[in-house]
């Protein structure tokens, strides 16, 4: 690990070589909007295009996605120029056209002073009414959880995350990591009593022996026991009462 210095919005900040510019900015309290990037998911980022910034290097400037652009010595980043704002306006308007019902995208638009999109609005009772097809959920399922119960299906404007044949997936462990990671809260997960519903499948939950609160799906306990060799009795109590 090599410590370097880069400049973001005129401010010199510390960074590690090849660390993502977005991470550096966040560590230093500089706001760059971003949706599809998650610092714990290596393959994430580069898909929503919201985190665009100007990267000045070797006398040249390029518009790059800050979430997957490596910090290097001599790099200067500008996050809030006319060009960045103009291009991001287009990006946000396109997102708005795909998911006009999403609160997250609407908030992003308001922040940039965008009232409406110039493009066709994909409105109505649509299964993907909040999904921006960034594939973060499938990456989490593959990389972090390790089950790959969902994948990105189809392509083009029909691209969407889903289980094979849209049937209840046998691989799914009901952990809900995809729903937590989703930047636009597009994945439906409901917990009712000791029953969790996600991706068309129902999971019965294990309840804490102290407080009685259902807190983890049985299938997830099975998975953790199987992959890490942890004692099953460890899951008798919820994290609050261990």
């Amino acid at each position: 690990m090599e410590n370097i210095k880069i400049v973001i919005d005129g401010k010199e900040v510390e960074a590690i070589r090849d660390q993502s510019v977005l991470d550096v900015a966040r560590e230093n309290g500089i706001y760059i909007p971003a949706l599809c990037y998650h610092p714990e998911v290596e393959a994430s980022g580069g898909s929503c295009r919201v985190c665009l910034v100007e990267a000045h290097q070797n006398g040249r400037m390029r518009l790059v996605t800050s979430c997957n652009y490596p910090a290097r010595e001599g790099l200067e980043i500008k996050t809030d120029t006319d060009l960045v704002r103009r291009i991001r306006k287009g990006v946000v308007e396109l997102l708005l056209s795909r998911v006009p019902d999403s609160d997250v995208i609407r908030e992003l638009a308001t922040r940039d002073g965008i009232e409406d999109t110039r493009f066709f609005k994909d409105e109505g009772d649509n299964y993907r009414y909040k999904c921006i097809a960034c594939s973060l959920c499938t990456l989490v399922c593959e990389e972090v959880v390790g089950v790959s119960a969902i994948s990105m299906l189809n392509r083009g404007y029909e691209k969407e995350p889903g289980t094979p044949y849209h049937k209840a997936s046998q691989a799914c462990i009901g952990c809900g990591a995809c729903a937590y990671a989703c930047p636009t809260q597009a994945i439906a997960m409901t917990d009712e009593g000791a029953l969790r519903k996600i991706w068309g499948r129902e999971f019965s939950m294990v309840s804490c022996s102290v407080c009685g609160k259902p807190y983890i799906p049985e299938a997830q306990v099975d998975w953790i026991v199987k992959t890490t060799g942890k004692e099953r009795s460890f899951f008798d109590k919820c994290p609050d009462h261990r």
Binding site: S148, M152, L153, N154, P164, Y165, S169, A171
Partner: protein, 153 residues
Amino acid sequence: MAVDTKKVDEIIAGYEKSEESLLAILQDFQREFNYVPEEGMEKLSELFGVPASKIYAMGTFYKALSLEPTGRHTCKVCTGTACHLKGASNVVDVIGRQLKIRPGETTKDMRFTLQTVNCVGACALAPVVVVDDKDYYEGASPQNILKNLKNYK
């Protein structure tokens, strides 16, 4: 529709057990059964240790693979610009009415699957109808195309 599991095993046995073989196997399924059967994908996932969702995603990505059973013959009507101007939509309508299916669907007797494609690169022959990816019918009109389709059983 049940598929011949022996045939599935036979196809898989012909390949090395690695992720790289997946697409080739799916293509073989498509050739053998005219579609990629669910049983085949499940088997692959089991044997190769590749998540079922990834194989399914592959099946949805490539236009050359169909996840639903298709007919013994595919009838592709070109609806590219030149064919469109020469009345391709009439051809689609007439074939659809005759076979009682819409584009993308398959007849009940599994004889035909009707598809529309955007330009087959033979605009001088417009409107073009391609059957089974090898028989090109040029200057297709509602009258002559139905006559030609009769030759496919």
